[in-house]
Symmetry: C2
Subunit: 501 residues, 2 copies
C-alpha cells in the first residue's frame, strides 16, 4: 500500500498530504480539559477522536510526542490574606477554599474517565499552573516585539497592530478583522482598559479576591487563557510543530489567538496542520442542562437518565463515537445507541468467530481471496483519508459475512489462501483493539484472568450433558441463574457462546 | 471512648497527644516520589502507611488536606539549544530527550501502582516543576533574611549562620552542628563555591547540558532538591501546619534542611508533628539490586523472582505491610509472606462469616458481650496509640474465634446483645475496608458485578446435586475445572465457600 495519509487542515480548508517536519516523528498538541467540573461527554468525544488519531499515527510507524494540557488556572475567588502579616488569616489557611484541591479532584476524575474510555495517556500532560514562568516569558517576548501593551498591571495583545502587519489573523477561524472588531467581546472585567475590543488579555492583574496569583514584572496576577497553549506547545514541541488539535468550539477565539501569540512571540506559525473535532448533539440539538437536554458519561453507563432506555457500556459508547467521522456532528439518541450496540456486538462476535477459524483449504487464490484483500486495503485507505473511522468500520463489517460464510461453509476455504485468512485475523485484531482502542468487556469483567470464561465453559458443558440426559431441573436452574446474572447463551452450529450485558 | 490520639513526634522523640492547629481540620504533607524510575516497594510501604493514617484521621472526623508532592525536577542532561537562533537545533526538538516525557511515564506508573495498592489520592499532588516561581520567591526571602548567599549564579543556604542564630538545626535528625560540618557532603558539582560544607544549594545555576532550566534573578537554573517541599507545603497548608511525614531516610538532610529553609524564609517551624516510616528490609538486609537482594511490586504480583515461592496479590501485600507498625522495620521474607497470606484469608473469611450471621438471641449481655465490646474498644485504643495497625489487627483476630464460635454454636447468641453483633459487624467492615483500605479481591476479579459469585454459587449447587445423585462424572469435571482455574472450594457446616488464588 503506497497510499499517503491525508488530513483535513482547518487552516487551508482542504485535505492535504501529511508531511511531518522531522521524518518519522510527529509533534501533536491537543487542547485538554479545564478541570473545574466533571468532564463533558462532548469533550470525551474529542479526546477519543484524537486518541484514535494518535493510535493510527503510531500504527503507521511514527514516533509521536502527544502533548495534551490540563487547564487548571481557574477563576475561583475567596478571601486572600494580602499582607502575610494577618496571623489569623494565616492560621486559617486550611479553612479557605484551595483551588488546587478543586483542580486535583476534577483532574483525577478526568483521568479516571479517560481510562474508562480506554484512551492512551498523552506523552506529556502539562498543566497551565506549572508553566507560569514560560508564560511570563512569552508575554515579555510579545511586548518586546511590539504586539502587546501594559495597562494598569495587565497586558493586552494588540490584535489590530498584529493584523495590520501580518496576513494571519482571522485565517483559521475565517473571520474578517473588521467583523472581529465589531463583534468581539471579552468576559474579563478590565475591558475598558483595552485599546480595542478585538485585543485580548495575555496577563491579568488579579483582583484582591482572586485566589490564583503569581508575581510577574507587571503585577501579581495570572495568565490569559489563550496563553498557556502557546507557551506549552512551544516548550515541548518547538516553535513550529506538526499537528494542533481541539474541539471546533475552540477555533475562535482560542486557537485564533494562539496563532497570533505564537507569531507575536516567535515570528512563526505554531502548527502546520490544524485538526478540529465537531460537536456532539443530543436528539438533534446542542446539549444543554438548562434545556434539560444533556447526559453525562456516568448516566450513560448506569442508564439513569430519561433520555435513554437502558445503560450502555463505555466501549459501546466509544464504538458509537467512532461510527461518525470526527469532523461530523454526532447525534446521540437512544435509537442510535441501540443500533450501535447491535453493531458493536456483531463486530466483536465476528472477530471471535474469525479468530477461531482454522484454515482448511488448498491455498488457492480465487475471487473471494481478491475480494477480501481489497476490503482490507480499503480499510487502510479510509483511515488514510483523514482518519475516516466510520468508513473503515463499514469495511470491517463487510468482511463479517465472509467470516460467517467461511465458518458455516457457504464460502469455501479453497477460495482463499492461508495468508489471506491470517491477514484478515491480524487486521481485525489491530483495528479493533490497537487502532480503534476497543477492548473486550467480557474479558475485562473476568479480571483478565479468564476465570469467567472458564466457569462459563464449565456451565455450558454441564448444561449440554443435562439436556442430553433430560435432566431438566439442572438445565432450568442454569437458565434461571444466568438470566439473573444477565448472561445470554447462544447455541450455534459450532457450539454455544455467551455474552453478558 | 474518650481516648485521645497520640502520635510519635520525631522532633521531640516521644509520643504526644495530637492537637491540630485548627479544630476539626488537619494539614498533612508527605514527601512523595521522585518520578525518574519505577516506584520502589519501600516507597509503597511509606505511602500505604500514610494512606492508613490519612484514612484513620478522616474516620476520626477530621477534614484532612493531604498534600503529597511529585518530585519531577530531574538531572537529565542532553544537548540544549542555548541561543534560540540555531534553527537546526530548533527543528530537531522532537529528537531530543524531553525530561517531561520521562516524568510523565513514571508518574503515570506511580499513580497506577498507588491504585493497585488501593491508596486514596491525596487532596493536592503538587509538582516541583509547577512551583518554580514559589521556590524562587522563597529563595529571595531567605536571602532577604540573611540566611543565603549567591555565588556565580547559584544560591546557598548559610547553615552555619542559621545554626548560630537559631536553636533549631540538627534537632530533627539528632545531629550536632559540629559533626555536620565534619561529615556533610554534597552531590552537587559546585561544592567549592560553598562557604562551608554544611551549606546546601537552594538554587543551582544550570550547566549548559542540563535540560531542566528556568529563568531566575540569579541565573538560568533549577531549584535545590530540598526547596520544593518547603515552598509547596507553605503554599497549600500555611507556614505552620500539623503533620509532616516521609520515609526515615529523608530525615537528613532533606527534612532537616526543609526545617531550616522554612525558618529562614518565614521565621517559624513548618510542622508541629513529624512522622517517619521505617525501612523495608528483605531477608533481614537492606534491599539492594547490586547485591541481588531486591524485589519489585510487579515481581511480587506475578511471582517471578527467586526470592519468593509464589505470587502474592496487592491486597495481601498491603495486609502484610499493616502487620508491622510504620515505625518498625518490615522484613520481607517468603515465610513471612506465606504466613501473612494465611492471616489475610482468615481475616477476610472471618468477616464474611460475621456479616452473614443473623442475631438469634435474647438480647442479654453476658460475659461474652463484655469481652467482645472490650476487644472492639481495644482496636480503637491501638489505633489511637500512634496508629498501631499490627496491634489493632491482632484485636480483630481475637474476635474471629468469637465469630466462628457463634456460627458453630460453641458460643451462644444469648450471651450477647443484638447491638453488640451489629457493632462487631460494623467494626470489621470499617476497619478492614475503610481504615486498613483492603478490598475483597474475589469481588474485584468479578468486575464488581457479582457475576463470579453468582456463577460459583450455581456451580456449588450443581456439585451438591451431582454428589447426592452419585453423578461422579459431573462432580469430577467440576473439581478438575476449578482446579485448573485455581479456585478452591471449602465444605463447611454452613455450606460450601470458595476462594481464588
Amino acid at each position: 500500500m503506497d497510499q499517503k495519509l491525508q488530513v483535513y487542515n482547518s487552516l487551508s480548508r482542504k485535505k492535504e498530504v501529511f508531511k511531518p517536519i522531522n521524518e518519522g516523528q510527529i509533534g501533536m498538541y491537543v487542547c485538554g480539559p479545564t478541570v473545574y467540573s466533571d468532564v463533558h461527554l462532548g469533550n470525551c468525544r474529542t479526546f477519543v477522536s484524537f486518541d484514535v488519531i494518535y493510535r493510527y499515527l503510531m500504527y503507521l510507524g511514527y514516533r509521536v510526542r502527544y502533548v495534551r494540557n490540563i487547564t487548571d488556572v481557574g477563576h475561583l475567588v475567596g478571601d486572600v490574606d494580602t499582607g502575610g502579616e494577618d496571623k489569623i488569616a494565616e492560621k486559617a489557611r486550611l479553612e479557605r477554599l484551595e483551588p488546587m484541591e478543586v483542580v486535583q479532584k476534577y483532574m483525577n476524575g478526568f483521568h479516571e474517565m479517560m481510562k474508562i474510555f480506554n484512551t492512551l495517556p498523552p506523552s506529556i500532560e502539562p498543566r497551565a499552573t506549572g508553566h507560569i514562568i514560560e508564560q511570563i516569558e512569552m508575554v515579555q517576548a510579545i511586548i518586546d516585539n511590539g504586539y502587546a501593551y501594559v495597562k494598569n498591571g495587565s497586558v493586552y495583545f494588540d490584535t489590530i497592530k498584529f493584523a495590520k502587519n501580518n496576513d494571519v489573523y482571522g485565517k483559521l477561524s475565517g473571520r474578517v478583522i473588521d467583523e472581529l472588531i465589531a463583534e468581539s467581546r471579552d468576559d474579563l472585567k478590565n475591558q475598558d482598559e483595552k485599546n480595542h475590543p478585538a485585543d485580548f488579555a495575555i496577563w491579568i492583574k488579579a483582583a484582591p479576591s482572586h485566589l490564583m496569583r503569581w508575581n510577574s514584572p507587571w503585577s501579581v496576577g495570572f495568565p490569559g487563557w489563550h496563553l498557556e497553549c502557546s507557551a506549552m506547545s512551544t516548550k515541548y514541541l518547538g516553535k513550529t510543530f506538526d499537528i494542533h488539535g481541539g474541539g471546533n468550539d475552540l477555533k475562535f477565539p482560542h486557537h485564533e489567538n494562539e496563532v497570533a501569540q505564537n507569531h507575536g512571540a516567535c515570528g512563526c506559525a505554531p502548527a502546520n496542520y490544524w485538526l478540529h473535532t465537531n460537536m456532539l448533539l443530543m436528539n438533534g440539538k446542542k446539549m444543554s442542562k438548562s434545556e434539560d437536554n444533556s447526559i453525562t458519561p456516568p448516566q450513560l453507563f448506569n442508564g439513569e437518565s430519561k433520555h435513554i432506555s437502558k445503560s450502555y457500556s463505555p466501549m459501546m459508547i466509544r464504538f458509537f463515537m467512532l461510527q461518525s467521522h470526527y469532523r461530523s456532528t454526532l447525534d446521540l439518541t437512544d435509537e442510535a445507541l441501540l443500533a450501535a450496540e447491535k453493531g458493536y456486538k456483531r463486530l466483536m462476535e465476528g472477530n471471535k468467530t474469525l479468530q477461531a477459524l482454522n484454515y482448511a483449504g488448498k491455498n488457492a487464490a480465487g475471487n473471494l481471496d481478491k475480494e477480501i484483500n481489497d476490503l482490507i486495503d480499503h480499510i487502510f485507505e479510509e483511515m488514510n483519508d483523514d482518519f475516516n473511522t466510520p468508513k473503515a468500520l463499514a469495511r470491517l463489517f463487510e468482511l463479517v459475512p465472509k467470516v460467517n460464510g467461511l465458518k458455516a461453509g457457504h464460502l469455501s476455504f479453497d477460495d482463499i489462501t492461508a495468508y489471506t485468512l491470517d491477514r484478515m485475523k491480524s487486521t481485525f485484531q489491530v483495528f479493533i483493539f490497537d487502532i480503534f482502542g476497543l477492548k473486550n468487556e467480557e474479558l475485562a469483567t473476568g479480571g483478565g484472568n479468564g476465570a469467567m470464561d472458564g466457569l462459563m465453559q464449565l456451565i455450558i458443558d454441564i448444561r449440554q450433558n443435562a439436556r442430553a440426559n433430560k435432566d431438566w431441573d439442572t438445565s432450568d436452574k442454569i437458565r434461571d441463574t444466568l438470566g439473573a446474572l444477565k448472561i445470554q447463551l447462544k447455541d450455534g452450529k459450532e457450539g454455544t457462546t455467551w455474552t453478558k450485558d
